[in-house]
Symmetry: C2
Subunit: 200 residues, 2 copies
């Protein structure tokens, strides 16, 4: 390469972002160089600002500039329901869809013996104690439909049993817009078993 | 969205990079947040450092931390050949391929009446005067095979005529690994016209 070190460093660093490889990192850096004042300098500032000001919400684990995030601070939200998600990306997906108006608990991962992730890392004790509050009526386990995600959900459901709170999980079935032909057997079986009245 | 403003700002800014949309920018930001110390803070520093220290080489237009870039400073390179490319990305591509050991002239674009890009913006006067030096024997026009790229090449070739320097262009033909079936007629016609002895 004919370029000097800072450029190479930047390309190598950018290439570590998900969705970017060396080639697209190179293109991105050239784009940044051409838009130095309008994009490159503000981007560096934005990254620093977020790195310094944004942290995990002490209540739910979401990201926010305050210790307690916007969702947890919002008393208009339904305080009787807690939705348990694996990570902040899932919380954002739920919020974008606008299908849930309660509170969240972000696990920050799933239980995994291999990776040494146990109940402590996922703050499950805290979830159990919060779920035991009188106000809470339902805990929705919205972990992924993967083996680890389902194992984690089962474990949490067991731990929640003494609290007498209602524990639910997201429905499995045919994705909207999905074609049966491309669907795996497991999903098809679940969709068949959970079939509903047509006007429901 | 439930997130606070700095995060949104950062996502919006990152989404302006080529190859990233809002969705991948969001994923990238979450990845950065998880790797705050190992990736996020160093990335902000890298971007600032490059923005402040890297500029165009006064000779050829390449990017470098010095006024005259590494390639122009390297006296071991062939001083008799100048390769004219549209932008720094093209220069990097040539260097990666390792097929040229001379000097470069980066136009920084192509002539375009619509965008108001004329010979001045592309520093063509400078190229012509440099090409008139005794040491220079050949100018290779490696602009893109687009209409604007070829128009620019034609214009430069005309301007170089009085200097008596040899003016060449890259060959057109079938890309290595390319299938004839997917090739456009123009390329096929050029490849046929420029066919060569099999052992050449």
């Amino acid at each position: 390469m004919s370029v000097d070190n800072p450029l190479d460093d930047l390309i190598r660093r950018l290439a570590r972002l998900p969705g970017l490889g060396t080639r697209s990192a190179r293109r991105a850096v050239l784009h940044l160089m051409i838009n130095r004042d309008s994009l490159m300098l503000p981007l560096a500032e934005d990254i620093s600002r977020v790195a310094q000001s944004v942290r995990h919400c002490v209540e739910c684990g979401n990201f926010d500039t305050a210790d307690t995030c916007r969702i947890c601070r919002n008393t208009d939200r339904d305080q009787s329901r807690i939705c348990v998600v694996e990570d902040v990306a899932d919380l954002w997906a739920m919020e974008r869809a606008g299908v849930f108006s309660g509170r969240y608990h972000v696990l920050g991962g799933v239980m995994s013996a291999i990776d040494g992730v146990g109940p402590e890392e996922l703050r499950i004790d805290y979830l159990v104690s919060k779920s035991g509050e009188d106000a809470v009526q339902e805990v929705i386990l919205a972990t992924s439909a993967t083996v680890d995600g389902q194992t984690t959900a089962h474990y949490i459901a067991e731990r929640l049993e003494p609290t007498k709170v209602q524990v639910t999980r997201l429905a499995h079935g045919v994705p909207v817009g999905g074609e049966l032909d491309y669907l795996d057997d497991g999903t098809l079986a679940q969709a068949m078993r959970a079939r509903r009245q047509i006007n429901d």
